[in-house]
Amino acid sequence: MKTSLAVVRFGGAGAFACQLFFSLLGSGAAFAQEPAANSFRGMVRLNRAPVSNEVLKVKLPRPVEKTLSNGLRLVILESHRAPTIALTISVPSSSLRDGALPGLSEATAAMMMLGTTTKTARQISEALADIGATVTFGNGGGGGGRGGGAAAPTGGASTITVNSLTENFDASLAIMSDVLLHASFPADEFEKWKTRERSQLEQARTQPNTLSNETLMAVLYPNDARRFTRLTLESLNKITRENLIEHYQKYYVPAGELAGISGDIAPAAAVAKLEKAIGAWKGGPVEKIALPMAPPIAEKKVYLVSRPGSVQTSLTLANRAIERTNPDYIACMVMNQVLGSGPAARLFRIIREEKGYTYGVSSSYTATRYLQHFSSAMSVRTEVTEPALTDLLKEFKEIRDVTVPKEELDGAKRTLVASFALGLENPAQVLQRWMQQREFGLPEDYWDTYSEKIMAITAADVMRVAKKYVPYDNVQIIAVGDGDKIRDLLKKFGPVEEKAVE
C-alpha cells in the first residue's frame, strides 16, 4: 500500500537483530505458566497467556573472510535463500574529512554516479534499470545518503552498495567498478546537481527533524567536523569540481575499510568476481581520524530553535555518553531496554500509553567510531511541552535512583536474548553484526557469548550505568517549536539559548 494511506500504531519498529544452529536453553516443560508476579508501572500483568519458558539459543552463522590482492578485506556470508546478492564496500571518505568545506564528501558521493570517462549519467542509470539492479554511493553510515536527518552521517566511512539478481551480478559489478575507478565529475552535471541541492536545502529547513538533529550535533560535538550533519548553502556555493576530484582520489581507496557480501554466492566465486572487477583498484594509505570521545557536558542547558507555526514541540534530550568498546556498553543496552527501547519500555508505557503526550518516544545510545551519545526524543503538542518534559525527566531520575524491579529487568534481558532468533531471517543483518565485531575489534566469540553477557547484568549494574550514562543534572535539551509559546516555560529547565533557523 502507498504509505500515505496507511497509518501505523507506532513508528520505527525495527526488528532487533541474527540460523541455522540453534538449540533450546532450559528444558522440556513447554508452556509452564510464569509465576504470578506484581504488575509494574504502566502495566497490568494477568499472567494467563501461555508462554514457552524455553529461549531459542541462536548461534550466528559465521562468515568467511578473505583479503583481495589490493588489500581489501572481504567478509562473505553465503545464503541461497533467494537468487540475489548484496555487496557493501566501505571507503575512508567521510564528512569528518570535509575540512573547510562541510558537505564535500556528501557532494562527492552524490556526483559519483553522474558520469565516468566513457559513460553519461543517463547511460549508467539506464544500464542499471535494464537489469533491475541498484548501485549506490552513499556518504555516511547505514543506508547511505543523509538518512532523513535522523542518523548522523558519521560512521567515519562512505559506503558503496550493489544489489542485484544473481544472473546480473557480473554486469552490476562492472557498472559499479567503472564508476569507482573512472568517475569523471562532469562539470554540467555538477552545476545541475548544485541547483537541485539548493532547493533541497531549502526543503530541509522545513523539517523539525533536520533542525533538531543539526542542533544536537552542534551541541554535542561543537569543536570539530562532527558538528556538521550535512552540506550548507555557504559551502555548496564554494565547492568546485577540483575539490571533488581531489577528495575522490584521496579517499575512494581500498585502505583499511571493510567490504561485505551476502547472498547467493560462494566465497571462491565472490573473491574471483571482485578480483576481476576491482582488483585494479589501488590507493592509500589514508591518515587516521583522531577524534577521541569527550566527557559529557557538565552544565544543564536548553537550546530553542523557533519554528513559527509549529503545532508541536520536537524535544531531544541528550549528552555525550559511552563508546562501543566500553565494558559498560552491554549494561547500557539492558538498562535502555528497560527505559526507552520499544513499546514494552517505560517511556512508551508511561509517556505515550498512560499520559498520551506523544505518538512516539524512545531513548537510545549512538556508539559509532566517532559518535558516542545518549538521546531521547519525542514530539508533543505545544500545550503539553512543560508536563511532557517534566515527566520524561522524571523517568530519567527514576532509572538512576530506584532499583529496577526484578521482573522488569528479567523481561529486558530476555528481550535482548530471545530476539536474536528473529535476525536469522536476514543474512545481510547477520553479516552486519560480524562486520561490527571486526570494525570495533571485539573478541572473535563476541556474538557467541552475547547471551551470557546480557544475562549476567544485575539490577545494581543497571542503576550504576544509569547514573553514569543517562543525563539528568547535566541534560542538554533541544526544543524545536513555536518560540513565542514555549520560550518562557523552557527557562524552568535550564538556561535557554535561542538558535535562529536560516
Binding site: 502507498k2 494477568l46 497467556a49 533467494a82 541498484t134 539478481l165 520499544g342 513499546p343
Partner: protein, 462 residues
C-alpha cells in the same frame, strides 16, 4: 469444534499467461465453522514465524462524524482484553523476543506479531483473546485519542505539505468512503465515545470478518489444530453491510490549492481517479506510472517501484532537461475500490506551476499517442521480478496473504498479481491511459508556501 475445511493448495490458476519463473508462495486456505479464514504457509529457513490478522474494516467503513475511528480503534486493541492486562501484550511479545504492530488503511485493519517458533501458542492466544473481547475504559480511550491526535500532528499538521494529500483526496473522491482521510479530523477524533468503540468491535471484529495468516517455521497440521483450539469458539456475528465504494463519473477537471505556512517551495499534485487495483487497466496504469515517474505502490509485500525514478520520462524532462523541479514522482495505489494515479512535483524557486503542468500534460498525452518502448516495458518487468524475489521475511508474506484475502477475497493474488503485471503490453498501457488519464478525470492541486518573510523560496540563490 468442527471445521469446514477447504484445503486448497494454491496452484497456478492463470492459464492465460505464459507461466513465469517467479517464485510462488504455497499455502493452505481453511475456513473454521465460525467463519474465520486461516491461511498457513510453511517456510523453514529460520526458527521464527509471523502471524497477521486482517480485519475487513478500514476508513472506508467510517460514518460521517467519526472519521479516523478505524485507526483510533486499532490503538484500543493494545489496551487489554479479558485475559491480557493493559500493556501486557507488548510486554509478552517483546520479552519473548518478538515484535508487533498494527496498521490501518482505507480498506482493512491489520495486526501482526513475529516470534521465535517456540512461542506459537503465545501469538495465537493473544490474537484470539482480543478477537473475543476487549476491556474498554474511558481512560484508555482518552490516552489513545491523544496519541492519535499527536500522530496526526506529527505526520500532517506539523509537516510541510502534511495536509496536501488529505485535501487532494477530497477532490479525487466524491463518495464519503474514500473522500476522507484515514487519520481523520481532530473534531471527529474528539467526538469518539466508549459506546462507539463497543459498537464498532461488535460489528467488525468478528471471526467471520477476519483473516488469520501464519507463515514461518511451522507444521501446518499442528498449527491448524492450535488455531481451532484458540479461535474455534469465538462466536460469529451478523456480517457488516459492505461499504458502497461506487463513484459517480467525473464531469470535468477540478482544481484546488492550499496555503501551507510550513512549506518553502511550491508543490504541484495531479491526480486521476482510476479503476480498482484488481482490474487489468489498473495493472497497465501501474506500469505507466513507473515509466512516467518511477512508480511505487508495488506488489503485495514487494519493494515498490524500485529506485528507477532517475530514468523516468518526467525526471528526464522536468528535473534533468528543463530544470524546473527538484523532484518528481508518479505512482498508483492498491485499493479494493477506485484508485488514484498520482503525480507530484516540487518546483524550484521562481518556476511556475503553469509551465510544469503543461509539460506534465504533454508527457501524459504521449502515453496514449504512442506506445511505450520495449526497453521501458522490460524495465518495468524486471522490477516486478525483483519485487517477487525480495519478499522474503515471514512477516512480509503473512501480511501479503492476509491483505490479499481480506481486501480482495483471494489470497492467491500474492502469486497471480506478479504474473498479471508481467502480462501488461504496450497496447494495454496506451488503451488504459487514453481511457483514464484525461483532463475531465483530473484533479490539479497546488500547495503554496504561506506566511512569514522566511518563506517564499527566494533564498535559494539561482
Amino acid at each position: 469444534m468442527k471445521l469446514l475445511a477447504i484445503l486448497a493448495f494454491a496452484a497456478a490458476a492463470f492459464a492465460q499467461q505464459a507461466p513465469s519463473a517467479l517464485p510462488k508462495i504455497k499455502f493452505t486456505d481453511t475456513r473454521l465453522e465460525n467463519g474465520l479464514r486461516v491461511i498457513v504457509s510453511e517456510d523453514h529457513y529460520a526458527p521464527v514465524y509471523a502471524i497477521a490478522v486482517a480485519y475487513k474494516v478500514g476508513s472506508k467503513d467510517e460514518r460521517r462524524g467519526r472519521t479516523g475511528f478505524a485507526h483510533l480503534f486499532e490503538h484500543m486493541m493494545f489496551k487489554g482484553s479479558e485475559n491480557v492486562g493493559m500493556g501486557e501484550l507488548d510486554f509478552l511479545i517483546y520479552t519473548n523476543g518478538g515484535n508487533s504492530n498494527g496498521t490501518t488503511n482505507t480498506d482493512r485493519t491489520s495486526y501482526y506479531e513475529v516470534l521465535p517458533k517456540n512461542q506459537l501458542d503465545l501469538g495465537l492466544y493473544l490474537e484470539a483473546d482480543r478477537m473475543r473481547g476487549l476491556v474498554i475504559t474511558q481512560e484508555n480511550l482518552e490516552n489513545q485519542r491523544q496519541a492519535v491526535k499527536e500522530e496526526r500532528r506529527l505526520s500532517g499538521d506539523n509537516m510541510a505539505y502534511g495536509n496536501t494529500s488529505e485535501k487532494l483526496e477530497e477532490l479525487v473522491y466524491d463518495n464519503f468512503a474514500y473522500h476522507h482521510s484515514v487519520i481523520g479530523s481532530m473534531e471527529d477524533l474528539d467526538a469518539a465515545s466508549v459506546d462507539d468503540v463497543k459498537q464498532f468491535f461488535k460489528t467488525y471484529y468478528a471471526p467471520n470478518n477476519a483473516v488469520l495468516a501464519l507463515v514461518g517455521d511451522l507444521d501446518t497440521k499442528d498449527t491448524l489444530a492450535k488455531v481451532r483450539k484458540y479461535f474455534g469458539n469465538i462466536p460469529r456475528q451478523t456480517p457488516p453491510v459492505p461499504a458502497d465504494l461506487t463513484e459517480p463519473a467525473k464531469e470535468g477537471e477540478r482544481r484546488g490549492k492550499l496555503a501551507d505556512p510550513l512549506a518553502r517551495l511550491t508543490r504541484l499534485d495531479i491526480a486521476y481517479r482510476i479503476p480498482p487495483s484488481s482490474t487489468p487497466d489498473a495493472h497497465a496504469l501501474a506500469a505507466a506510472a513507473q515509466i512516467l515517474g518511477g512508480g511505487g505502490g508495488g506488489g503485495f509485500g514487494g519493494r515498490g517501484g524500485g529506485g528507477a525514478g532517475n530514468n523516468s520520462r518526467l525526471y528526464l524532462k522536468l528535473v534533468q532537461e528543463k530544470e524546473l523541479v527538484t523532484n518528481v514522482s508518479c505512482n498508483t495505489d492498491r485499493r479494493v475500490g477506485p484508485g488514484t494515479f498520482h503525480i507530484s512535483a516540487t518546483l524550484r524557486p521562481g518556476k511556475t506551476t503553469a509551465e510544469v503542468e503543461g509539460l506534465i500534460g504533454e508527457e501524459v498525452a504521449r502515453l496514449y499517442s504512442e506506445p511505450v518502448t520495449a526497453k521501458e516495458l522490460a524495465r518495468v518487468m524486471i522490477n516486478v521480478r525483483r519485487g517477487a524475489e525480495s519478499r522474503l521475511t515471514a512477516l512480509s508474506r503473512a501480511q501479503a496473504l492476509a491483505d490479499a484475502a481480506a481486501v480482495f477475497d483471494d489470497p492467491n493474488k500474492v502469486n497471480t498479481d506478479s504474473d498479471l503485471q508481467l502480462a501488461v503490453t504496450a497496447a494495454d498501457i496506451q488503451r488504459a491511459a487514453k481511457a483514464y488519464l484525461v483532463t475531465a478525470n483530473r484533479v490539479v492541486f497546488v500547495t503554496n508556501p504561506a506566511g512569514g518573510a522566511r518563506q517564499g523560496g527566494r533564498r535559494g540563490g539561482q
